[in-house]
Amino acid sequence: MKQSNRIGGRIFIGLTFLFLYLPIFLLIIFSFNAGDSSAVWKGFSLEWYRALFQNRLIMESLYTTLLVSLLATAIATAAGTFAAIGLYSLGRRKRDALLVVNDIPMMNADIVTGVSLCLFFVAFFQGWGAFARWFNGVQGVVELPERLVLGFGTMLLAHIAFNIPYVILNVAPRLRQMDKNLVDAAQDLGCTWMQAFWKVILPEIKPGIVSGALIAFTMSIDDFVISYFTAGSSTSTLAMRIYSMTKKRITPEVNAVSTLLFLSVLVLLVLNNVREVRQERRAQRQDVRPPSFFEKLSMRLSSPAWKWARRGLAGAMACAFVVLTVLLTGATSSQPVVNVCSWGENIDEELITRFEDETGIRVNYQTAESNETLYSLLKSGGADYDVIVPSDYMISQLMEEGMLEELDYSRIPNFALIDQRFRNLPYDPENKYTVPYAWGTLGLIYNTSMVDGEIDSWGALYDDQYAGDVLLIGNSRDALGVALLYLGYSVNTTDEGEIREAFDLVADAGRRGVFQGKVMDEVFQKMEGGNAAIATYYAGDYLSMLDNNEDLAYVIPKEGANWFVDAMCVLKDAPHYDEAMEWINFIASTDANLANMDYIWYASPNTEALERYPAYYQENSEDGEPLDLELYEIMAPPAEVLERCEMYTVLPPETRTLYNDLWIRLGT
């Protein structure tokens, strides 16, 4: 019976490991896929590894992840050990009280820790800003930076904060087990406390320190939530990068980077295992190993005669660390930078490289999911952008709240190329804040192979016939706007009854299981892969999807739709105003607009680019095939189509609160 039990146990353990590792192996296999799908095998290739090493964003985030994990582990281990020794020198009552506080970050959900730290940093920055302004006002010798933002530093502090408790938790039992008389004995025999620490305490608690450091590192490298809330917009760990990628088209580069990570950890583990086995064998044979070079060195260094050398070395290392940090930050900040935030899949990335080569300005290109998330980012103090590309109604809202800076049009000569139709629009009547970037319509996309007949009404979104195959658009303005259109109301209504009626329409469809999900840029993979049949999305993105799935169709339903303009604006007090002007001027040029149009399939507001695009397309297509004018009309719809469409205007604050409120409720 015992034997069978044992076999059963092994089988169970084996199945558990299969469950743990099968997904990882699939991930690894598909990193060698020739196609860009994670589900359809198209043959072997190393293409994605090549692409990975050329992907600056992923490589940078990998570097950030490793750096923050290693630094946080090192600092937290030292500080935690130090603190644990301190705690154990305190009286029992004090120690227990402090250990309860020490447990808080471990007991708390990550998201609570992340959110509370984010609020703390932002509150601190506000206080600091007030102080710095006052300080810079009363004296002119030292100039303090007035504007601090979330970034690598705050993320590192957060990591240290959640790592220290784990180190203490691991070191504390070792200290408790240690015979306290040992230290007294060592000191009675003439050791200084320092020597007693190195020779008596440290060897005793070393296993605790090692396992503490290991756990701290594991927690750091595995963390996503706390980094997400404390890193701000300009710093990304690998996890954050992947999270933002899953919202768009995720490419097998992610599989490649996972594979490399997995293999390197595996190699480390195997090496460690081999080492441990060897040590054990040696211990069994009980041979005494001669002290290694480092052990001899540390023994020599800990003798009192070397006190000054020790202190000098520590000082030199501290100086070197400070100098290195300053140099590193200096090296990265001396190059001019511009921080741009746009939407996913919204630029031909070669334009970024071209701009960097021409001007020597480094572009830090970030994306936001929707106008609403962009607003949250800006408000929560985590964003460090210069140029943003919001849509019409959000521009009005940002202007209302005084968050935009006026542009210096004398430095944007290419503004002259912008078509009259796209100047002085209602959101910026005097055109003081914006340069249009792209425009288009919001329409209904459906997969003709999954839907019988043609669709010409928004009603399809709420139709039981398509239950489970409809994707609801993931932002409140578009989702409720479309429902309002279907009900025959204006998208800009402020009538609470009408808005609630639209909400009920959507919520009811949700309850009946019509929606498969609530998506923004996830729509690409869902629609292209045939994972959903109907979606609401933007014309330009439809054309991108069409490239990958010919069955998709786009309509502007008979109830009408929304048309929008996305425009570049500069945030108030943007730290890189001059570089921002250069970027805007570059993007407004005809060349950039043509390249962008060809890549993102959104219509350009540039007159020349609009005229020249059909010819440009033909020149650049592989077999000189002319542009399909029907598609061009979807991209840049003629006046009669735009007449059926309504532009969003900014809603009053009460209506916005209502929208937010209803929107959150939709998910519940």
Binding site: G86, L87, N108, I111, Y243, V254, W663
Partner: protein
């Protein structure tokens, strides 16, 4: 070293005050105030809490899914730990390493690996199609992504090691003579387990349950990636208020506070069961 090195703790006390206590106080302040839309001034209000009833379904779903995930983890994790502890040291070491290994890859990568498996056109559905299961059922695909089951699966997959590690570390240290004594006194296998082994491994179970339940109840990435935005959980609700599509940090802070209090209450109740037992240390 007694009492002489007490000042070693001072920097850490200051650090904790700054990075643990103050942030929670700030969060509490946010929770009981609201910003005037016109002036941005803070006003004291209880409306963040009173209006929370509308999200009852989110609270219920979060706690329900987290409880299910924790139970599944326990049902898988306990036998694995138990049988692992019975193996030789070599086996144990390798098994421990294998359990830890995925954690060094970051949990988002692990969750992502399930996305491509569970999609409607994903690997699992392709497999079902290839073996004719879909034709048999007469459906085009089996809906897996976007269901509560997918979210629970993601939680179990990600947090199972957190259940195994503490239970294993307690069981492996169990005093074998206790088990032998029980046997000598006539207990059969089942009784030894229920009367000796299980009660003694309770501290490990408690800390495992904590370590699985807390991240599960508050997750937002797993429900977002595998739940397709339809399985909103508390974490999503909070994230939406801070960095998502409905900016209202005051409400977000209030929800965080409530969640924190409920979780702490759960922990207190649970630790009451394991009275006097010390939290098992990981590894």
């Amino acid at each position: 070293m007694r009492n002489k090195r007490g000042w070693f703790a001072v920097p850490y006390v200051i650090w904790m005050a700054l990075f643990v206590v103050v942030p929670i106080v700030i969060m509490a302040v946010y929770a009981v105030t609201t910003a005037d839309p016109a002036t941005g001034e803070l006003q004291l209000t209880g409306s963040n809490f009173t209006g929370m009833g509308a999200y009852l379904s989110v609270f219920l779903r979060s706690f329900w899914l987290a409880v299910v995930a924790t139970l599944v983890c326990l049902l898988i994790g306990y036998p694995v730990s138990y049988w692992m502890a019975k193996e030789g040291p070599r086996f144990q070491r390798v098994a421990m390493a294998l359990i830890m290994l995925p954690m060094w890859m970051n949990f988002l990568l692990r969750t992502y690996s399930w996305m491509s498996i569970l999609e409607n056109n994903g690997l699992l559905n392709q497999l079902f199609r290839a073996i004719g299961l879909l034709d048999l059922l007469g459906v085009d695909h089996i809906q897996m992504i976007g269901t509560p089951g997918a979210v629970v699966l993601g939680m179990v997959y990600n947090y199972l090691p957190f259940m195994i590690l503490p239970i294993y570390s307690v069981i492996v240290k169990l005093d074998n003579s206790l088990i032998e004594a029980a046997r000598d006194l006539g207990a059969d296998g089942a009784r030894v387990f229920t009367k000796v082994i299980f009660p003694l491994s309770l501290p490990g179970i408690l800390s495992g349950v904590t370590m699985v339940f807390v991240p599960s109840v508050s997750t937002f990435a797993i429900s977002r990636l595998l739940g397709g935005g339809t399985q909103m959980m508390l974490g999503d609700l909070i994230e939406q208020q801070f960095l998502g599509g409905a900016y209202n940090p005051h409400l977000g802070a209030a929800i965080s506070m409530v969640m924190m209090v409920i979780v702490v209450l759960c922990m207190v109740v649970m630790n009451h069961f394991g009275e006097g037992e010390e939290q098992a240390v990981m590894l």
